[in-house]
Homo-oligomer: 198 residues x 2
Amino acid sequence: MTQKMNTEARREQITGAALVLLAERGSEGFNIADLAESVGLVPSAIYRHFEGREDVLDATLDVFRDRVYGLVEAARNEAEDPLQALELLLTRHARLIESGGAVPHIMASMSAPDRHAARPAKTQKIFTGYVARVERLVRDGQESGQVRSDIDSTSAALLFAGMIQPAALLRHAEGERFDIMAHAAGVWELFRRAVARD
Amino acid sequence: MTQKMNTEARREQITGAALVLLAERGSEGFNIADLAESVGLVPSAIYRHFEGREDVLDATLDVFRDRVYGLVEAARNEAEDPLQALELLLTRHARLIESGGAVPHIMASMSAPDRHAARPAKTQKIFTGYVARVERLVRDGQESGQVRSDIDSTSAALLFAGMIQPAALLRHAEGERFDIMAHAAGVWELFRRAVARD
DNA sequence: CTCCCATGTGAATCCATCTTCACATCATAA
DNA sequence: TTATGATGTGAAGATGGATTCACATGGGAG
């Protein structure tokens, strides 16, 4: 029999594995059997720790949110200034996607409505929260004079989000052939030119 | 009994309805019963015109591709120059999303793998085809001197695609409250500043 | 050391779809 | 007008995955 674990540790293990599966296949392809297998359990064992599939997804979404928001906070703290924070954030997103943690893929896939329908609302809230955090960085940049004051911070934040999303799709489509780090660098140049005060 | 129709007309009606349903709920929530109902048929009738669910999705993807590529061609033909074509294209995407035809939503949702797995490859091909077409517009702009020649056309094309994708998500999340036309205008200003030769 | 409850298992069972099938009906071609 | 094949219908069957449940087992409190 698989080693027993207390529920708390097991839940973390499971949500972590779920995040990987979601990045690979989206929520449609996500199923309990594969999830169980990926943590070395039998499907029914999942129900010792979660109420059901939807509950797993919900908990996984929490993990996801914390990681993504954590990325923004880390970038903010480590960078010297807001513009550099944005660049750092972009780089880290790219690296995350490169290593398989397809953030935007998850976003898109989880927001598809299902009949129980608490999940899409939650996903969307995570996205708007993300955009709001980026927007704050942009506004900070405006206050510090690095970013042009005549641009709309919301537009800039959405544009920033948009730099990452297609990259994840392409990465999925083309795999290794798509050099996502190079993409990040190229697109950052464009973004900087659009928003930076020169 | 529902009026009979010849298969060709019925297929068009069905794929059209499928596109609407996909935009609303993604491929996960897409089911034959609802599709049948939305064209006033009984589920089994769908099988008179398609081999099965996957076949419906495949055919719908064709319709989708033609519409999206058609949008690019139309913009190219109607505009005076490449840059204007891009702006026109962006506006039309926005309008399409506003009226419920959530293009990027469909993209993301259809690319999720399933076990038969021909669909994701096809979806991704549509996306890369779209990016390639936008990239051509960018290069045309470079040749005509409107667009800076020192930017990477692929990066620019992906950035362009990225202007639309988050907008569709937000539109889904916030509905009417999110003014997508205003977003398009704001983000276009940024894009233009990034790529236009001034 | 031993008992017990949280955790793990395998075999049902449930359930929502998709899919098939025998039968009905309409469009249309001759 | 009528025969025929294409299209529509309802009910039954097949499928795949989620969920439940009775039973097994091991880690740790006492």
